[in-house]
Symmetry: C2
Subunit: 216 residues, 2 copies
DNA sequence: TATTGTTTGTGAATGTGAGTACAAATATCA
DNA sequence: TGATATTTGTACTCACATTCACAAACAATA
């Protein structure tokens, strides 16, 4: 029933479907290795790294091996070049500009958050719908009118952070998709409906808190 | 185990090991059903709920059935009583007081976040280490000295939200454990080491953003 | 050089979760 | 009442993810 070319390509290119869970862990590795790089650490073994991240060594080795053989047997992984490799894999080499939607308390906190730089992200512009907030300064940026979201296309910004109330999230998401955005980090407690080509990651703080009492 | 909780639920929990993924989804169901309850919706089918949450109907049925048979065949799930059941399961009946550590921008945003009330959470007190911030008013609360974290034991607060820089996170976590805290929502990009009896959930915003370019 | 100790990369085994299919239960309507 | 449509609960199957176990590769040292 299936096409033989697919199989052949799979064999020839040693194609493996990379688990989503592996992708989810890659930024962990990138951050940890970046810190080690700053400390002038040359190499690190999967055992040491696993200790830091509370993971099992074989997990780390398998994750990294999906993308090639970065390590050296008897030695470990070379910190600097592995950082570069992971950056390439995650498409985080070079600066990634992101638009921030929502200039409320959460949006303001996100705009000032220093933790994005490890991954090469920068918040390039801030939007809000409230006339009171438009024109206001947040750090070095001026809040723009959310009605002008379509300018993102010209500016080639394809990444957005959505920090608006749940009621506004879906309509914002649609405007972002219209503006050519390809990835959305949704910080509102809502389930966004977007075309399949657009990737959404939702962080719901209250929901994360919601599981804690169960385990206590 | 606790004898005062619903006996039937405890019995069911003995015989089935409930998947962590199921627990993770329960707050989703709780939120969605709470909204439906506000709209005076009497019952909802797994199909309708799945459509809202972008899940498969059998997934929802299986998740709920771990805790008993809440639904009625041919009808669906009674909204009101299922909400109450899930609250009981997640130990979210009654108000859950949480301490917020860190009165920076993110902490301030968290303190004012309205989304906790659906689950019965309330931020009961705010702590910081910076002398400048101690004594400051945030909403109706006064920022307390993080050196006094041990007062949480007396106040019987067993839940904490950690909104401090990564460098301070581990020492804060240790102080919280010392103060009898049993669950920590960690909002810093750090991997906390705590005794096994303490449950930690970490939300790393930059890391969540870090996977997006890969999929674009 | 030979030996010992360390570490990676990976096939195999194990464990966990998701999807499918269907019987049982209920409502609706002719 | 009988027939049809709807929906739950669950056994079974399949897919995905983690862990184990070990050969291959390298360093260090005598």
């Amino acid at each position: 029933m299936n096409v033989s070319t697919n199989i052949k390509i799979d064999e020839d290119m040693k194609y493996h479907k990379i688990p989503d869970e592996t992708i989810r862990r890659m930024p962990m590795y990138l951050r940890a290795l970046s810190l080690l790089e700053q400390d002038a650490c040359q190499t690190i073994s999967s055992r040491q790294l696993a200790q830091q991240l509370h993971l099992n060594p074989p997990q780390i080795r398998k994750d990294l091996s999906y993308f090639g053989a970065f390590g050296k047997r008897g030695i470990g992984y070379p910190v600097q070049s592995t950082v570069q490799q992971i950056r390439k894999i995650l498409k985080l080499d070079g600066t990634q500009s992101a638009a921030l939607i929502g200039a409320g308390r959460l949006g303001t906190a996100i705009a000032a958050y220093p933790g994005f730089s490890v991954f090469g992200f920068e918040v390039a512009s801030i939007f809000d719908i409230a006339p009171k907030k438009i024109g206001k300064k947040i750090g070095a940026m001026t809040v723009e009118d959310a009605a002008d979201l379509d300018t993102l296309k010209k500016r080639k910004i394809r990444l957005a952070i959505l920090a608006v109330p749940a009621e506004a999230a879906q309509s914002c998401a649609e405007a972002l998709v219209q503006a050519g955005v390809k990835g959305i980090l949704n910080l509102s407690p809502s389930c966004l409906a977007v075309p399949r080509r657009v990737k959404v990651v939702t962080i719901d703080i209250a929901m994360a808190l919601g599981v804690l009492p169960y385990y206590m």
